[in-house]
Amino acid sequence: MEALGLNMGFEETELRLGLPGNRVRSEGEGSRKRGFSETVDLKLNLSSKDTSEKVKSFQKEKHPLPRATDPPAKPPAKTQVVGWPPVRSFRKNMLGVVQKSSGEESDMAGGNNAAFVKVSMDGAPYLRKVDLRMYNTYKDLYDALGKMFSSFTIGNCGSQGMKDFMNESKLMDLLNGSDYVPTYEDKDGDWMLVGDVPWGMFVESCKRLRIVKGTEAIGLAPRAMEKCKNRR
């Protein structure tokens, strides 16, 4: 506590790199431009709806990589820099090819580890199989499932408790309300509502998919909530 108090006093006299008149930033990183983090969020326009990614980039701003290069062009950490690398915004947005799940470097190095799971839909005469590693977001999966079972539509899979997550990430924008709800069987053998956990975690734990009629899924929600609470 005392240490904090001391620091507060010295802040104003601290030497920083940067143009005179720059607002002092609480992150303690002297930078040439004000409001970098705000500009990054706005201008980089990372359209991935995965909120965990945004959190990650914020954290990076607080701890930029140390650089041993000469002044004066102090090269900031990549995520801080607006418009760098010079990839057209359009191209960034269209590339839904990046797998953002944590700890997947080994997977990337190993190449294509397929994660085929069976998909059944109540009332459909046959099952299908999907490779979960071909997708990067829940939306991609829903789109693919929608095409596969094209005579059905996948229903709004949020029970009241799940709606917050759904709305935030806008996964349900394209889906019509209907009676079908995607569920999955996880490693423990429990049937869960699709969409609760981060995508990467889902891919790791999903053993099979089942698209059930809404009436049967209602009973699912409380159990799923309980399980998530236990996980956290």
Binding site: K33, R34, D70, P75, P76, P85, S89, M94, G111
Partner: protein, 585 residues
């Protein structure tokens, strides 16, 4: 043709002079109408008044690299017979969000002038312009002969605007919508082409996302017998693609839709046979979400491919290598760096005719990703593809030695755009600056027109550029240099420099002001996040009235600093449509 006429004019023989003196304008116009190059035409128009007149009457195509360098009034006054216009608007860095919104480059004023003076306008090609739905509707309704619309990196319109084009342009032959900031609300625009409409030759909607009515698309493709280019979007499935291919075996350029679908044996065979039946395909793109399983359907078609664009497909090295084996005639290749060095080695081994390579980063912003391509891939390509002259290469590491080897193998580079993605990164083996790499490029590649530099660079790089890059026209610099001297070397040394764009470099007023006269021979200069002050910009603006000096201010930054400066030559004077964040000095 041109040189013949010129020689006649310069002959000292009086009899011949008499002939040229009565050389009828109409004949001169016919002769000049055969000139297509814009630069040739500019030269021709400078010869004498007669030639200026003849040239302006015979010109039908005009290319304007900076829409603010001239006004619609000046353009239409000089050239009365224009049928084809190409306009470029915003500075290139607007692609990377460095330009404030509402900056300008609105097409509408131009369209209004064209409606009055060029009612027979046929072609419009726009790059980085602001285009609204109203403008597209205006375009569709005011030009009965309109044939060709190409929009690249534009923004401000929605699919409603496209619907207007489809509905009203009865003579449309080309609709090419690429990489735009478009509000894609629905795919119904495609259904707006009337059933009587059959003239389409080029249709590219690959970068739109909404689903279109596939029946309407099938019917459109069936009745447009001259369709040569079809690039569909992600929403089109493999089965739908097969049906389209069957209806258009004459296609020369194909952009597929999604390549991900669970196909059983029979539809797969149909797809393969549909591809085999299209014997004229030389350009292939799309392949969204391609699953390696279905790529073999393409193999036979790849034999004649000259341009393969896989920049939206994350192929791994193995499956990519298998595909590239079938593409021996490839001249242009665009890929994602997911193919890695191994994939590029396969390119070097299989594509001896390759002239252009672009490697885009699949994941440019995540520092945890340690894959992608390195110097090895580039070197491998250079050994196998000696005709390489255009490269765009995003990588995470590079060495001076590698670049030296590359240009030794391929000395004919005209476009060398190397992006080492971490700013200010040195040669990772020697830890030295990358000066010698770019030195090697400019020393060896005498035909170099375009250069983008990256990595840790001192002023030495710019000394090299100024000394050796005598044909350089476009230079892009970021996070480089040590002092004003760097920029000065370039301004003093590169006689053909037209576009200079600089960001985050320690170049200041002295450098800026050392280029006073130079800027009038250039199209534009962009400097952002450098050390330039407002006063210096004001001085520049005062001394050079034929330049527009525009400063874009960032919120709350120091009043004396010029955060972003855009300077360009113009005959139209300062522009009147700048937003409040842009100050014209």
């Amino acid at each position: 043709m041109e040189s013949e006429s010129k020689r006649k004019k310069e002959s000292p023989n009086t009899a011949e002079l008499a002939v040229t003196a009565s050389f009828p304008d109409e004949v001169l116009e016919i002769v000049l109408s055969l000139l297509t190059s814009h630069r040739d035409r500019s030269s021709v128009s400078l010869v004498c008044k007669d030639w200026y007149r003849a040239e302006r009457w015979s010109r039908t195509q005009v290319f304007i690299g900076n829409c603010y360098s001239v006004s619609p009034e000046i353009l239409t006054r000089r050239f009365p017979n224009i049928r084809s216009v190409t306009l470029k608007g915003k500075p290139r860095f607007s692609d990377f969000n460095l330009v404030p919104p509402n900056w300008g480059a609105d097409i509408h004023a131009w369209l209004v002038a064209f409606a009055a003076k060029y009612p027979f306008l046929e072609e419009l090609r726009l790059k980085r312009m602001a285009v609204s739905d109203e403008s597209l509707e205006f375009l569709a309704s005011n030009f009965p002969n309109f044939k060709l619309l190409s929009l690249l990196s534009c923004d401000g319109f929605s699919t409603d605007g496209l619907a207007a084009i489809a509905t009203h342009c009865k003579n449309l032959t080309e609709l090419d919508i690429q990489e735009n900031g478009i509000e894609d609300s629905s795919g119904s625009w495609l259904s707006c082409f009337p059933e009587s409409f059959t003239s389409l030759e080029v249709l590219n909607f690959a970068n739109l996302t909404s689903e279109v009515n596939t029946d309407a698309l099938e019917r459109l493709v069936s009745r447009c017998k001259s369709l040569k280019v079809l690039k569909v979007n992600k929403s089109i499935s493999l089965e739908q693609l097969q049906r389209l291919l069957v209806r258009a075996p004459q296609l020369e350029e194909l952009g597929t839709g999604s390549f991900l679908q669970d196909l059983t044996a029979r539809p797969y065979a149909d797809l393969e046979s549909a591809f085999n039946n299209c014997k004229n395909i030389h350009t292939l793109s799309g392949l969204w979400e391609a699953v390696p399983l279905y790529l073999p359907a393409l193999y036979n078609s790849c034999a004649n491919l000259t341009f393969l664009n896989l920049s939206y497909t994350a192929l791994q090295s193995g499956e990519f290598a298998k595909l590239v084996v079938h593409c021996p005639r490839l001249r242009r290749l665009w890929v994602l760096d997911t193919v890695e060095d191994k994939g590029l080695e396969a390119v070097g081994s299989n594509c001896p005719l390759l002239e252009e390579l672009r490697v885009f980063p699949a994941d440019p912003f995540d520092e945890e990703i340690i894959h992608g391509v390195t110097e090895e891939g580039f070197v491998a390509v250079s050994f196998g593809c000696r005709r390489l002259h255009y490269v765009l290469y995003f990588c995470r590491q590079m060495t001076n030695a590698a670049v030296a080897t590359i240009v030794q193998n391929c000395p004919n580079f005209t476009h060398f755009r190397l992006c080492i993605m971490t700013p200010g990164l040195p040669d990772y083996l020697t830890n030295e600056p990358m000066d010698e790499a770019f030195g090697a490029v400019v020393k060896t590649c005498s035909k170099l027109q375009r250069l983008s530099v990256s990595g840790l660079l001192t002023d030495l790089t710019f000394e090299y550029i100024g000394k050796y890059a005598k044909n350089l026209e476009t230079l892009s610099v970021a996070f480089a240099g040590r002092s004003d001297r760097g920029m000065q070397c370039v301004l003093e040394g590169c006689p053909k420099l037209r576009k200079l764009e600089i960001r985050d470099c320690p170049f200041g007023n002295e450098a800026l002001l050392s280029g006073l006269e130079k800027y009038e021979s250039m199209r534009s200069l962009w400097m952002s996040a450098c050390n330039v002050t407002m006063n210096a910009c004001r001085r520049l603006a005062k001394q050079m009235p034929r330049l527009n000096v525009e400063v874009m201010k960032e919120d709350g930054s120091d009043d004396s600093q010029a955060d972003k400066v855009y300077i360009y030559r113009t005959v139209a004077g300062p522009r009147r449509d700048a937003p409040p964040s842009v100050l014209t000095l």
